[in-house]
């Protein structure tokens, strides 16, 4: 077994340091200096009712040069297809919407939740980092992240300093990350809370500024502080706090809100030059402050292990969320394991979340009907099976995710009372993994 070949320092490092990381590093214990550890996977994420499907290839590479010096890279290629709710509510009539470029349109049948089928996206993400020891008990990490979609570019840098105390029973860390994202929506960013325009007769599909708001950007700063503490021979706990500040364009440039009659719930007619019914582009505040508290406990049994974590997040948009997650690792024998996984999540709605806007009401300063900002609960149930061979470790992970909110919130007046305004979202996640060493 490889552990026996490791110097005691390697075990120390593994025991005290490996929980740390912008995301946790690949286990130090699984490495020998001079080896490349490669973790690859093919992921399928599929939502029900013909909504989003994502096929993703992921590869993480890590090379340890000695106990505390290591280089890591991670590459992800995502291919997204399907349809996503555009924010409008169902109606008893046919609804027609204009694609973002203005050169096409799509419809929702009577009673159907309007879904925008016009996106098709490929995302490529690359990140990397270097860990360097500073003296006997400290390490410094520097890293970068970047990702690109046809309408989105993310560039980020991050750094973290960690220090061991108390015979390496305690490790404290602080970190800072900065990101700048450029958003170049098809057809330009819309002006918030202005009407969706009708399809135009223009053969030139060059993504000009049909919607008037041009290109946009945002900056995100995250500051992190935390501590990992050994609690005896079998237990370990990590506690962290993250403060995040986002400034700039935080609106989803493709989401709208229906405007309906406050009594009948029927969509009101659109303006001259607009769609048949009135839809307004969503608009969110241009800053957001998030605070996140996280705690994780790990326990080693003689053969198996258990991890339990809880997360609390609150932001100045009015969203509060709680997450509880647990994994039990059942080491069936020396070569195979089964790891059941459960996750519960709940969040409150953002202050400016609206299912619809009512005709005649004064327009709010901000409004969004994005389901991701609604009040909902979610759970994930799944398991991972892994088997080590002479060629590396193969694994299969299958998970089921379900998100459910109030299907007919308080604003369900008239006709709207008969529709599911916030239908449940269900998805399957299937991941094939292969981990090996060069």
């Amino acid at each position: 077994m490889q552990l026996k070949k490791k110097p005691i320092g390697g075990k120390l490092a593994a025991a005290t340091c490996s929980l740390l990381g912008a995301l946790p590093s690949t286990p130090v214990v699984a490495q020998e200096a001079g080896d490349w550890d490669i973790d690859t996977s093919l992921l399928y994420y599929g939502e029900s009712d013909g909504r989003v499907t994502d096929v993703s290839l992921d590869a993480s590479v890590r090379r340890a040069f000695d106990e505390d010096r290591a280089l890591n890279f991670s590459l992800t290629v995502d291919s997204l297809t399907g349809a996503t709710p555009n924010g409008a509510v169902p109606a008893n009539t046919l609804q027609t919407f204009t694609g973002a470029s203005g050169n096409n349109s799509y419809t929702a049948q009577p009673g159907e939740l309007p879904l925008d089928p016009t996106f098709l996206d490929t995302r490529v993400a690359l990140s990397g980092g270097w860990q360097q020891p500073i003296g006997e008990n400290s390490r410094w990490n520097v890293g970068f992240s970047t990702s690109h979609e046809y309408d989105y570019l993310h560039l980020g840098v991050n750094t973290r300093y960690e220090h061991d105390f108390n015979l390496k029973n305690t490790t404290a860390y602080v970190g800072l990350a900065f990101a700048q994202d450029d958003i170049e929506p098809v057809g330009g960013a819309p002006i918030g809370l202005t009407p969706m325009l009708a399809e135009r007769d223009d053969d030139d599909d060059d993504g000009d500024d049909f919607r008037g708001g041009g290109d946009q950007s945002k900056d995100v700063i995250d500051a992190l502080i935390g501590v990992t503490q050994l609690l005896g021979r079998r237990d370990l706990i990590e506690v962290s706090y993250t403060y995040g500040q986002s400034d700039g364009y935080l609106t989803d440039p493709y989401k709208i809100l229906s405007v309906v009659d406050p009594v009948t719930g029927v969509p009101v007619a659109g303006p001259v030059g607009g769609t048949p019914y009135l839809y307004l582009w969503e608009h969110r505040p241009d800053s957001r402050t998030k605070q996140t508290g996280f705690v994780e406990w790990r326990h080693a049994f003689d053969r198996d292990s258990l991890a339990l974590s809880a997360r609390y997040m609150t932001d100045d948009w009015g969203v509060d969320s709680q997450t509880v997650e647990t994994r039990y690792r059942w080491n069936i024998n020396e070569r195979s394991y089964l790891e059941p996984h459960l996750r519960w999540y709940t969040q409150s709605a953002a202050d400016f979340y609206r299912t619809v806007l009512f005709d005649g009401d004064q327009l709010p300063e901000y409004a969004s009907a994005d389901q991701r900002l609604a009040d909902f609960d979610a759970y994930t149930v799944g398991a991972k099976y892994g088997r080590r061979t002479d060629y590396g470790e193969f694994s299969l992970r299958v998970e089921y995710y379900r998100q459910e909110g109030d299907p007919s919130p308080g604003s369900a007046v008239g006709d709207l009372a008969g529709f599911e305004l916030l239908p449940p979202l269900t998805a399957y996640i299937v991941q094939f993994g292969y981990k090996f060493r060069l």
């Binding site: 005290t16 929980l19 946790p24 992921d58 021979r233 459910e404 991941q431």
Partner: protein, 81 residues
């Protein structure tokens, strides 16, 4: 029909946090140092976090929920659908 009353989840989360923090306080207060030769279980592969899967999960949940981060820096960098 909700999956589970939010209040129950909140209570669970708070309880877990409280229990963990209490354990941490007790441990740091008592300074029960684990010696280098007592770390065989902590060094086991299954006691290490899985960075690869964690990054994938973070991206999925970041795309579908209003929260992110916790296990380090928040995800980001996507105009997610």
């Amino acid at each position: 029909m909700r999956i589970r009353p939010a209040a129950t989840i909140i209570r669970l989360a708070k309880l877990a946090s409280l229990a963990s923090l209490t354990a941490l306080a007790a441990a740091t207060g008592a300074c029960t140092n684990v010696q280098p030769w007592e770390r065989d279980l902590h060094a086991r592969v299954d006691m290490q976090p899985n960075a690869h899967d964690a990054a994938i999960d973070d991206h999925i949940y970041f795309s579908k929920e209003a929260s992110s981060g916790g296990r380090g820096f928040a995800g980001g960098g996507c105009g997610c659908n």
